[in-house]
Symmetry: D2
Amino acid sequence: MALKTEDQYRDSLRSMRPNVHKFGELIEDVTTHPATKNTIEGHASLFRSQHDEKLSQIVTTVSHITGEPISRYLSIIRSAEDMIANCLMKRFAFQLTGTCTGGRCVGWTALNSMFVTTFDCDKHLGTAYHLRFLEWLKNAQGRDITIAGALTDPKGDRTKKPSQQEDPDMNLRIVEKRDDGIVVRGAKVMICGVAAANEIFVLPGSAYGEQDKDYAVSFIIPRDIENLTIVEATHPSDGREGQRGFDIPNTCGGITQAYLFFEDVFIPNERVFMAGEYQFTKSAVFNFVAPYRSAIGGCVAGQGDIKIGAAILTARANGLSAKAFRDKLSQMYVNNETTFGLGIAASALGQKHPSGAWLPNMLLANVNKVHVATLPYETSRLAQDIAGGIGETGCMPSAVDFASDEYGHLIKKYMKAAASGEARARAARLVEWSTVGAGVPGCMHGGGSPDGAKLFIHALSGLEDKVELARRLAGINEEIPEPQKK
Amino acid sequence: MALKTEDQYRDSLRSMRPNVHKFGELIEDVTTHPATKNTIEGHASLFRSQHDEKLSQIVTTVSHITGEPISRYLSIIRSAEDMIANCLMKRFAFQLTGTCTGGRCVGWTALNSMFVTTFDCDKHLGTAYHLRFLEWLKNAQGRDITIAGALTDPKGDRTKKPSQQEDPDMNLRIVEKRDDGIVVRGAKVMICGVAAANEIFVLPGSAYGEQDKDYAVSFIIPRDIENLTIVEATHPSDGREGQRGFDIPNTCGGITQAYLFFEDVFIPNERVFMAGEYQFTKSAVFNFVAPYRSAIGGCVAGQGDIKIGAAILTARANGLSAKAFRDKLSQMYVNNETTFGLGIAASALGQKHPSGAWLPNMLLANVNKVHVATLPYETSRLAQDIAGGIGETGCMPSAVDFASDEYGHLIKKYMKAAASGEARARAARLVEWSTVGAGVPGCMHGGGSPDGAKLFIHALSGLEDKVELARRLAGINEEIPEPQKK
Amino acid sequence: MALKTEDQYRDSLRSMRPNVHKFGELIEDVTTHPATKNTIEGHASLFRSQHDEKLSQIVTTVSHITGEPISRYLSIIRSAEDMIANCLMKRFAFQLTGTCTGGRCVGWTALNSMFVTTFDCDKHLGTAYHLRFLEWLKNAQGRDITIAGALTDPKGDRTKKPSQQEDPDMNLRIVEKRDDGIVVRGAKVMICGVAAANEIFVLPGSAYGEQDKDYAVSFIIPRDIENLTIVEATHPSDGREGQRGFDIPNTCGGITQAYLFFEDVFIPNERVFMAGEYQFTKSAVFNFVAPYRSAIGGCVAGQGDIKIGAAILTARANGLSAKAFRDKLSQMYVNNETTFGLGIAASALGQKHPSGAWLPNMLLANVNKVHVATLPYETSRLAQDIAGGIGETGCMPSAVDFASDEYGHLIKKYMKAAASGEARARAARLVEWSTVGAGVPGCMHGGGSPDGAKLFIHALSGLEDKVELARRLAGINEEIPEPQKK
Amino acid sequence: MALKTEDQYRDSLRSMRPNVHKFGELIEDVTTHPATKNTIEGHASLFRSQHDEKLSQIVTTVSHITGEPISRYLSIIRSAEDMIANCLMKRFAFQLTGTCTGGRCVGWTALNSMFVTTFDCDKHLGTAYHLRFLEWLKNAQGRDITIAGALTDPKGDRTKKPSQQEDPDMNLRIVEKRDDGIVVRGAKVMICGVAAANEIFVLPGSAYGEQDKDYAVSFIIPRDIENLTIVEATHPSDGREGQRGFDIPNTCGGITQAYLFFEDVFIPNERVFMAGEYQFTKSAVFNFVAPYRSAIGGCVAGQGDIKIGAAILTARANGLSAKAFRDKLSQMYVNNETTFGLGIAASALGQKHPSGAWLPNMLLANVNKVHVATLPYETSRLAQDIAGGIGETGCMPSAVDFASDEYGHLIKKYMKAAASGEARARAARLVEWSTVGAGVPGCMHGGGSPDGAKLFIHALSGLEDKVELARRLAGINEEIPEPQKK
């Protein structure tokens, strides 16, 4: 079938069993329901881009299996160039949709992780997952499907391992192994873009030891599989998504994050890529982390592009020149390019894996994660600073009030400045939406917390080498060891 | 009548003409409508505190006019101690209500500004405003009313003065002077706490010259005065305020910010404190700015107290110890005490005005404003960092979903950690609410923008004195003047 | 004798036994030796100020013992106003001398600490130190002496208490108690302004328990007491102090920090204020810390004033307008006033001690210390940014080269810009001197490290109160305790 | 001759005419004089590395002209990999020498710039510089020479162009064109590593227009050419370089920055690469800036490695564990890898020039420059924080005092902690040296100021594209142009 059109994509979602809920209600058609429509429009625009001469170079590539053109989101990252293209596509996707298209990139990263992990697992344990994975992948490329990725378990009491929890379901686990497949129980939480996805790629949420081998599980399922219940989480100002008008200013994209409840879901063998091989859970997580934390710098740069644009648009609508904000803009540009650039650097300094995959630099990827957890907050603050009071918290009458017969004319009269009242309000709403509203993605903790990233940074920074450097330069001959606890 | 009870306060609001709107609808009873109920509960708790033995020391003082006990919000600030008590009360009010009680402090600051300004105006121009003001104040103290304050005009094209605007109404102005009063037209925008107020104190929005003397106007009006239409602005996640459940976790307080449209409102003379004396518009603004920017440091410190508490509560509900976050907590404490402390410093280094008022230090007040526009953002980021993914953007199923017959049990099962699912969700909601939700006040631009504060800082920092110091210390005898433009 | 003149002060130093060394050499006359002359000139200017009509209001006050005019540095701080005057004087002293006059303020803080500590000690242990202290103080005020203060011990292995050290001398201790006095052995290190002092006030370096009671010792000694050997530490670019010319651009002041070696020094009883009362070592340290960490904010603000002046002077000498650096100047002003202001706040929110002393607010004092350890570094960076390459590291030919017969004319020709080559070089040297040169004081660790300050902040910030606030606001009824270690 | 040994290198310097001065004195032998010895030892160690099996891979490459092995510092950067190798080598060189080896990298960048610029100039103006350049380069590679680079002119009054200056010599200029060469007059200032260089590559200091065509000049000269007078600038604590002992703790490397005075220096044609082609001055500067500002991130990362090592070494010598400083170390690691990584990113996102050269990404290079001007200051502060008071400003007795017969034993006794007194002092001296001493390079303004970098960032960040993005996303149809000045 090759590359789907946006309509084919929407049709593929409409043909699925409804199992997504929000605000206590089952969503019959995710493509039209206000809680999910915007994110699906965002994902649809990626399909539209596949058929645009210029943009297709960004969002498509060639399958290393079949040689056919495929969505880049279904490709294996095999070189620094591929990984750099990942960073670039993520920035582009934000610019296109104004926000996260999480129904694609997490799944993509997950499948790249399992490409490497199944290769290594087979090599060391004599399993046969890699070929099974390639079969599935080839088929998935042919179907041009959209894949969400799911790692995070509820975890319960964080001081205990999965098998030690009072309730053993607090991490997703295999409750039965059958000849033809496995049965899993538990949940995956805060999963991005599920409503926009055809399938969901599941990975273990952490590195596990032998006592937790039932939790060592990876597989791919249709989103509407039996016994899977999905509840969409809230996000800022989502109460406005049911309203008419422009209080949610951007309809080119949106974010959803779901809770997935697995009540004994059966997965056939051909879709299972790990089932008990706890020795490779660490590999699955690490091979996810490195590309994910590299490329997320592109995401927040794209997001920063929107904040910059929205802030200056509002300032101009207020009658102020961009020149008045040079210093703030400098800082915003620097923040943007820092996260973007560190992703590029992690890509460039990666290395080739025997499977043919390209593994980005783990230290730089995690350094990037630390910036991703801080710099966008400063960029948001500066956007609100530039935009003024109406942008700071969206302190304007609602779109419904703009339309009031009784006093709407007063709002329009007094909101007018260097642009019409509505244009000015829309610009300010975009600042609000992208800094304190429904457009704010969960990038700080998504893909792991900054404190987790710092653990990697400590492990990889080579402190003792630096200490030895200093000792040599200072001409110190005696040993100065780390003091021992008594 | 002395000090009102909270019920008397609610009654006073219920007895007023409905003229507040939101989402296209007239609010019949502000004390019960979901859009205004929370802020009124917050203000009511201040009245409750007046009758608490311990708390009354914070929120009440003695009238310098009558010697009677009065609300501190209706007092004249006459000493460093009074001004410090202002900072302390603001921090307390945030702790009590979780947020801003803007229907009191802006009005309070406004009346203090006009206490000084009418004194000076009378002295220089021979007017008789000060006594009129004192008469009104004595009466207001007796009635124990709640007073919002209104400064900000819509402004229109920011490159033009009020009288040069295409539409002369873009700043509030006197359209008619009668024997018994004045008629005003225009708007005041982003006015905090109007729904919770009995009266509104209006000040000029800027310093004006003679050609703009019609805009030099200050007065006090009942909130429900004829020809005044009020529309409440949106704030983050306000769509949830109509819902049941705990998605808006805090019901002890709330924020509203309104747009006030004056369609030829008549104000009787006894409530007018400036009507054309453009020479004192600057004084009115400056005498507002200094105490406001000093005491707002107490506000954001109180807000920071909530963020710290909510973040650690969530972390513990996640099963994590506060000890894991020592460094982040240090930073949050330092941010908090910095804004609080600079307000205290501005109070302590103030000076006595001939009218008897105490004027805080203008340089330190404005330095504080710059911190107020930055540090709370960092504190919010750290709160989200500590609280984890569920706190970052409130990424949890809604309270409605918690209550679902069909799958509510799954949510409760999987949200449970070191606390019940609901308690954990409530804690995380408070992090969301106070950092990216309905509890976020507009402190960056409220009371003037940080860029405005920097203008004061430049004017007051004495650059040339510092340059002379340096020249003397460096032993330079020749003059090194500022280069001249050619 | 009342208030000394600067000549009387210099004479008092010249009359002392030489016991100060630097670079392997005994300094015969500290008032003329290049290593100590500048700091003595700085201290002398404080004596000059005592006799200036305007400045005497800053540097003198009235003795609460005798009612006579005395140096403020010899006064007891008895009110918020006194403490604020401390902050102001410290800022002034930096402006006057370009740097630290550490031979006065540490001793002053030390004597204030022992005023309180002897009072409490007498009350609880029945000792009779307070009166003895007052006798000494009255006499010291009469003699108008300059007093350095000494707290920091060498400490040896930081994981062991004083009495557990391999070498028991690693903290200063009483080795003999006689009827007429005590004999002490050990060292005090990094002591500021000793060369400029007549006497040295010694305090315990930490809070000690009973096993370390020999280390609980406080006394005052003449700087030239028998068996005391003093070695001045190096400071940046001190190799230039012997050179002629303006490579050390400022001769109005300077810093010294000394190592004091006590080889069985005898101290007569009338100068001993603690000798074994380990229970009050904590008090001695705490009562030192609070005023010291409050007022040091004034120091670094004064230092910031110099950096601002020097940077702009250099920029103008380069031909650039101060206007080009508005944003950097804003940041520098804010940094300055933040440390200054927090000192004022700590002063204002202090409390009266039964002895009559005023104790500043401990939380705010320690918050200030954290800023003191960070903000001046940013101010220095900005000064170098403004001043350009010649200011950054003083990248200019030396004053000796300026004077070269052979090529000095080339240097003068090419260093000339909007000011003469020498004036431009002097301005840039002052930037270097105050940011990376001999004028940089050790404020980060002086008076205790920022990590030590954070311990106080954690202890005083009331975390559990904030958590309770949050729990109440979020409507959580269940207890969510701090997780216990297993 | 291929790759020189370190002895051959030292010999090459000894054979040159003495024309370098410092402190008013002519330096007869730069390889032994204390003012220049350390930098020459640093440069010598690069020659030593050429002959080390492992290190030669870092510091050598293959000539694209001859196919012979050459110093990487004499190579043309022809690919992303070459440019990445530049960043890596710069970090390595800092680790090897503890500081900057500026006698190599600036010259290298300069020759790469002129490789491109001569190519473009020939193409557009029909000149024949490129072949001449290649001839010289081939020869230089064969001789394995060390080349300093010189761009910065004294500039005089910064508000005037070169030809408008009162003194036309304030920028280096051609005063005579002869058949066989040109004669130049003027100066180049703050030139790094000249004492360690065999030759000096001169570039125009800025982009010039036609009226300043005499200032459009580029050439390469022997360091000891007739009529060139060199004066070394001071740097922090350089007065200690004459002393014995370890007060300058690192003797593996050092920095020098010189002022070069050209008093009518004749340069033969074969060494002239620009002489009046003002149209290509911009190109010369831009093609220098991009690689320089990319790779300098590697420098400051290497410098950060030293600071981290020195700080932890000192902490351990103090008896403290590195674990106590995890949070500070995190920040230092992040700072380090940020500048390093952004250089890698700029390298990776570069593009091929028709000449065969690789041009790094200009936006990312300049973003890096902004970080280079800020992050190292924070790393220095943290190093001083970790190291304690003795590291902060090197507050210890001098090495001469350590050796005192009279009291040296006291210093050693009391400086001892978890390491011997001398080892502890050496470690702390390395902190001082690298953060506030002679090891601090002028990276903020070297290669252009951060404000200059921001001009590039503004020009390259595509503000209008971002504004258009925002306008589309917000659904605004009307134009909102930049307000026009009236």
